[in-house]
Symmetry: C2
Subunit: 389 residues, 2 copies
């Protein structure tokens, strides 16, 4: 039946494609799943940049290459790459490999869709909603909003942008020149994305006021109170505090209850950068480190770190129930977010973000959670704490 | 030899992991590569949201599931997802599937690294540099800078942020309140990310001045000149023009030479949003549509659209050779970007971006290019134009 064959517009042969993909997949299994996780193999076959350039033959040419050459290229890429799944890899805050999460990533890549409307990503729109609901429940919220972002830095920027928009909705149209000078508060132990974000969002790094931390890297709430008063005395309007649950260098957890008290008293947005520490909420034993997080207005949490969901899996969670995300970021582009669709357009989440196309980041976490269960993930977190001791 | 086994910290069994991944991969081959690209199959098995929720059983529970259940879940996810690789899928500006690009994505996901330093991503730091160099050469630049961004919207925001930083370096530290009111220029046919970006960056949507387009959607350079004068008369400082090469709805290409003349005369940054149209540069037949692009200061180009590299593959290209990207976005976080490393720290590209962790987006394009050659990619672009006629 001629109709069962791919249309002529397909410029590749499915038989050859299957053969290629099977071979590449075989290389991945041998080199990453087996050798990459074996303690007797190297974490990385280190080469100096100039030598590595020669070995990889990176130049892009006019002529294509054979399947055999392409396979060799995949092998070389893997050989000279760092095995972040290796048991001796400790360089960064992500590491390890979860086979179910990897399975989810392979399915995600093969489906290659964008997370903006229900009609283009029906499964993933619903799945993202469910995953975010679960993460919010662990924070302690029975309602709210959220979205997956391309990394925790962008999540933190979203929080800052949402806080200023809530306080000064004019900002969206008229810009910061129409507003009084603003001030936000964090410690020097915070992630560098807070300052990067302040610059990118047009606030300027000077708008970030540094609150003192104690010798273990935790924010001192009394100094927060002092810095807020100081900023006000200088004519600035305080609008946000960014507390950190799990600082990058010391792994410190800011005292959220005391910080929330200050924010409540002063009417400030409380953001918790729990990019690293958020996953501790899964552990009955250790979740007390984040006591008070339910009083936050926003939480950044990256399951790609402690939970090894795979880069990137970065949730921004919001307590808000007033559609703040969409009001703040929406542009109502009529060609994409038509309002006369035959389903509930609240499912078209694309206008909640400043991106247009947005990768599917929920499936890898969802599939891993289904396979391990909350119990399995809790064991992983507890084990990480045990190893750290 | 005990040492050849994975360390006890690995909480999964490689034998079981291999079996699971092989089965999931088999499902991908059957359901996506074969059925997904077959004209006799549906693009999507459409379900209403409530029914789909029931079918997917999305809830995340405490108990884990068996391998058989996980496989069924992967099958259901694929069954009810839109097949963007289907020959009858035309909904968005990305579509189609390239097997080599998919192979690159599978390798990328298995290696799971972040694109910030040479020591963590030696292969991909060099590869990104090479791919960006190739794209810049097609623009017409023998030097310059660039970076892959999480989508074209973020690329466009980067361009706006770089342009204002170059003009007013104080902005990074002191914020927009220390600057005069700014104005940027584009047509109403431009992508909605320009306005979203203006809001996010604190400029406000009012800072975006709308230039008239002709009946085919192309910017009218004489009106650009008029709008610039008007903005100046109102006390604003013009700093950037965003031209579009391939508008979202009409596919129009703005006349870059004439726009570049205006920018040169007025001293404005010329950004070209070629997210969709950039790939036309590969075609000897059609690249005249972008004549003048070599005079731009920045270009956003998404090979995930016309070239089907896979979401996301979004390059921001810069003519700049003064390290503007790093000066504008850098924070010199000392724990990540140490300056006393034993290799050239210029290879640590992470401080060029406002993200921290950054996905590897170059391998899929590089591998596809190696396999198809520039010639094969040119055929693909030419075929897309032929089909559009």
């Amino acid at each position: 039946m001629a109709d069962s064959k791919p249309l002529p517009s397909l410029d590749w042969d499915p038989v050859a494609a299957e053969a290629l993909l099977r071979d590449v997949f075989g290389v991945v299994v041998d080199e990453v799943i087996w050798k990459g996780t074996s303690a007797s193999e190297k974490v990385c076959e280190w080469k100096e940049p100039e030598e590595l350039k020669q070995l990889l033959d990176l130049e892009l040419r006019s002529q294509g290459e054979s399947k055999e050459q392409i396979l060799e290229r995949c092998q070389a890429v893997i050989r000279y790459s760092v095995k972040t799944c290796h048991p001796r890899f400790f360089n960064q805050l992500f590491s390890g490999l979860d086979p179910h999460a990897l399975a989810g990533r392979i399915v995600t890549e093969s489906l290659n869709t964008s997370q903006y409307t229900y009609e283009i990503a029906p499964v993933f729109v619903l799945m993202e909603e469910e995953v975010l609901k679960k993460l919010r429940a662990l924070v302690g919220w029975s309602s709210g909003d959220g979205v997956f972002c391309p990394g925790g830095s962008i999540s933190n920027m979203y929080a800052v942008n949402l806080a200023r928009y809530q306080r000064f909705p004019d900002c969206k149209q008229k810009g910061l020149r129409a507003l009084p000078p603003l001030a936000l508060f964090t410690t020097k132990e915070c992630h560098y994305s807070i300052k990067k974000g302040a610059a990118f969002l047009g606030l300027g790094t000077d708008s970030v006021r540094v609150v003192k931390a104690d010798e273990r890297g935790k924010m001192i709430p009394e100094d927060l109170e002092r810095q807020i008063s100081l900023a006000e005395a200088e004519g600035a309007v305080p609008f946000l505090v960014s507390a950190t649950s799990g600082t990058t260098v010391l792994g410190a957890f800011d005292p959220l209850e005391a910080i929330a008290d200050v924010c409540q008293r002063r009417g400030l947005w409380l953001h918790v950068d729990a990019a690293w520490g958020g996953s501790v909420l899964l552990s009955q034993t250790h979740r007390h480190l984040l006591d008070g997080i339910q009083r936050a207005d926003s939480v950044a949490w990256n399951p790609h770190k402690l939970l090894t969901a795979g880069l990137q899996c970065s949730a921004l969670l919001l307590r808000d129930t007033t559609n703040l995300l969409k009001r703040c970021h929406g542009s109502q582009a009529s060609y994409l977010f038509q309002q006369d669709k035959f389903y509930d357009v609240a499912l078209d989440t694309g206008d909640k973000v400043v991106q247009c196309g947005r990768r599917v980041d929920c499936l890898k976490l969802w599939l891993m959670w289904k396979a391990q269960g909350g119990q399995g993930l809790e064991r992983r977190v507890n084990q990480a704490f045990a190893l750290a001791r």
